[in-house]
Amino acid sequence: MSTTDLAPTPRARFEIAPQLGLAIIVGLLVVVFAWKQPGFVSSFNLFGMGRSLAVDVTVGFSQMAVLATGGMNLAVGSIGVCSVMFAGYLMQDLGLPVPLAFLLAVMLGGLLGWLNGFTIVRSGVNAFIVTLASANLYSGAMLILTKAQPINVLPPIVSSIGSYEILGYASPALVVALVIGLALYVFYRYSVPGKETLMAGANARAASMSGIAVSRSIILAHVLSGVLAGVAGLMVVARVGAAMPAVGGEDWLLPSFLAPVLGGTALAGGFVSVVGTFLGAMLVTVIRSGLLFVNISNFWLQLFLGLFLLAAVLAQRYRGLFRMRLT
């Protein structure tokens, strides 16, 4: 079955099914955790979860942007931490105003993403190897330049953004993540470059024959991925009120794939689900926070996340087989 078969057909309503299933799982987990520990749904914990959800969602979107083209980006965490440290440097050492520093830091993310995309397109080497190497180049350069020292004398406004509570339990970061989600939905659904990216991901040959500049789409996807990684990094800066060199890196690798893959984004490219990625990130956040509440040590977290990822890909696979049998 080729990917083009997944183009909207009367059966397209089935495409919503994975997201619905995911939403039900997230809902059930929340109920279970809240039943075991009512503190789980306290406004304090909801605020904390919302803040880390914002990061998980944005990191997931960053990976999703590249998965759309059938590639992958192992440098999401490295680009994130480069933006983090650059923002810290601009604010503390150069004394730039916060909005300008944030803007420049996000632009650095975009630039590093562009470098990835450009290298992949120009060299023809696959995205895995290029981003594995660039991840080490970027983090290596960051560690050399910062000597692995945190930058923690930031303007107080930074941490007050991080701890600001909208209506008592929502974090501004979560609002940013929602706005990004909305923008991405519109981008892939209605904009020409967005649709071209998906077509390039579904079938590069066919797309380029129908006049789409596939290379440009791939580079654009990597720029977008870099920008989003930068934004996710800045969310962490606001949360901890400092620029830490330990942010991101390999810690983001698994969550970045978890959110989109759990949400039904195709690894082969050509199909993304913005809502699914959001729900996938919710599952990650709920498990992470919930395990702490039911007194399961955080050391086991990785096991649970790994098993969920495995279960999700298996479910996707067998659902695919099932659907093929129906047709």
Partner: protein, 317 residues
Amino acid sequence: MIGFRKFASQEWAGLAAIFVLGSALAAFLSPSFLTEYNIYVMLRSASVELLVAFSQMIVLAIGQMNLAVGALGGLVAVLFGAMLQLLGLPLPLAILIALLIGIVGGFINGLLTTRTGINGFIITLATGSAFTGINLGLTESRPFHGIPVEFVALGDSRWSFVPALLWPPLIVAPLLAIFLYRTKSGRKLLAVGGNMRAAELSGISANAMIIVAHAISGGLAGLAAVLAVSQLGAAQPEIGSTWLLISFAGPIIGGTALAGGYVSILGAMLAVLVIALIENMLVLMKVDPYWVRFALGGLVLVTVGVNRWRAHQMGRN
């Protein structure tokens, strides 16, 4: 001249030249480079890395990748430590069981990829996370120190500049070569990596070969972990956490095809030696250790770039 041409056309010849020139440069820059002890230190750190590179190489041979090499290594290391410290098992038995755990871990990876048809990348990302989770959950990140003294001493022992730890990879390398190039199963494995469809049409069970490759990969990761325990003198839960880049850098710089079907064992070995040389030089020159990461990332990019360019040029001729 023909002899030279033939030599130069081998993909490992460039690496050998780089290693020799690099060593000469290192000896020139630092008088302590050519000491017996320094070469021993360099080769000792290469021992584990050689096995890590082989572990990835065998999966690359079938055109897949194994992101769980390090995670499986870490899990084997702590279980090995637990067997020695908590259960008091005799050393040979513990080593045997440790290798078996590695093989079983790899077997699970292979079974999951073949049964589901999902690519190895995402399966091993998931199982790798699960292995690390079990490792951290069991140990709560605390190492096992109860390793028999003779086993730790083995990790430190050497004959002139040759560390004892270098023997396992030196024995594994020819065995791998014989398996891949002289046995039926090995040839089949490479055939599956070269062209899975064609291999299946000629009656080879691709699934069986994929599982075999993953199982060997797991066994080698387990062996690397056992060596690392001997080298470090403790079963550290973070063993393996830095293996990802080196596992790919070794085979890829050494000329193994990412698409599968072709490996260069000698190339991977020389690549690991070059990497160990670079690490050693940076240490001798007292540069920030972060430069190692930077240099390694750059080296991978440059090699794949050069290989692409060379393939392009050859295509033109």
